[in-house]
């Protein structure tokens, strides 16, 4: 089997990362549903389920911030996170920022928002902004891979 070039390896990793980003965002969405079920008392509250949200959020945030693939060679990482990916990261961060600002301002203006705890507020602001940022990044990356 012929050895693959760095470009081919980076290409494969970059595609996988984009697909993993979409999958991660979906898992994160499901985790929000589980959390809401737990909090509404539909199923027995379990600490592990509640912690799932925080773990998911941290993993997605780390994926977005570092570009992932920390175990790969430096040369491969440079190719995976080249100019185009850095531009996509900036676009995703901007989209996430605007979602966070919009949700935060919306919460502030809602009459009952004062009753929310700080943890609830963090949950409401962080969840949609991370999902939007990851989905924007992944979609831009997948589009960049598309030929023609």
């Amino acid at each position: 089997m012929p050895l693959k070039s760095s470009v081919e390896i980076a290409d494969r990793i970059s595609r996988k990362r984009a697909m993993a980003g979409v999958a991660g965002a979906l898992v994160f969405l499901v985790a929000q549903g589980v959390r809401l079920l737990v909090e509404s008392g539909s199923i027995a509250p379990r600490r592990t389920l509640l912690d799932m949200w925080a773990i998911n959020a941290i993993v997605l945030y780390a994926l977005l911030a570092t570009g992932g693939g920390l175990l790969n060679r430096r040369e491969i990482r440079a190719l995976v996170n080249d100019d185009v990916s850095r531009l996509h990261y900036k676009s995703a961060a901007v989209a996430g920022f605007w979602v966070a600002m919009t949700v935060a301002m919306g919460m502030y203006l809602l009459p009952n928002s004062a009753a929310l705890t700080a943890r609830d507020a963090v949950f409401v602001v962080v969840s949609p902004s991370i999902i939007v940022a990851i989905v924007v990044f992944s979609c831009l990356e997948l589009r960049a891979h598309r030929d023609g």
């Binding site: 081919e8 290409d11 080249d82 589009r143």
Partner: protein
Amino acid sequence: MAEGLKNRLREERARLSLTQAELADMVQVSRKTINTVENGVFIPSTVLALRLARALGTTVEKLFQLPK
């Protein structure tokens, strides 16, 4: 942004019978960078434009043009 720069990257690459991956390897960027430049989605930096022109044996002016 994409309307701001026309390019002949695909034609020049075809002239030399290079694949996107081969050109990416020569310039040391990812294949998606070559793809997005060809499609006009991404405007390359000056350094990348110079490296692309050198790899394809042409000039930056021939490779990239402002729309008339």
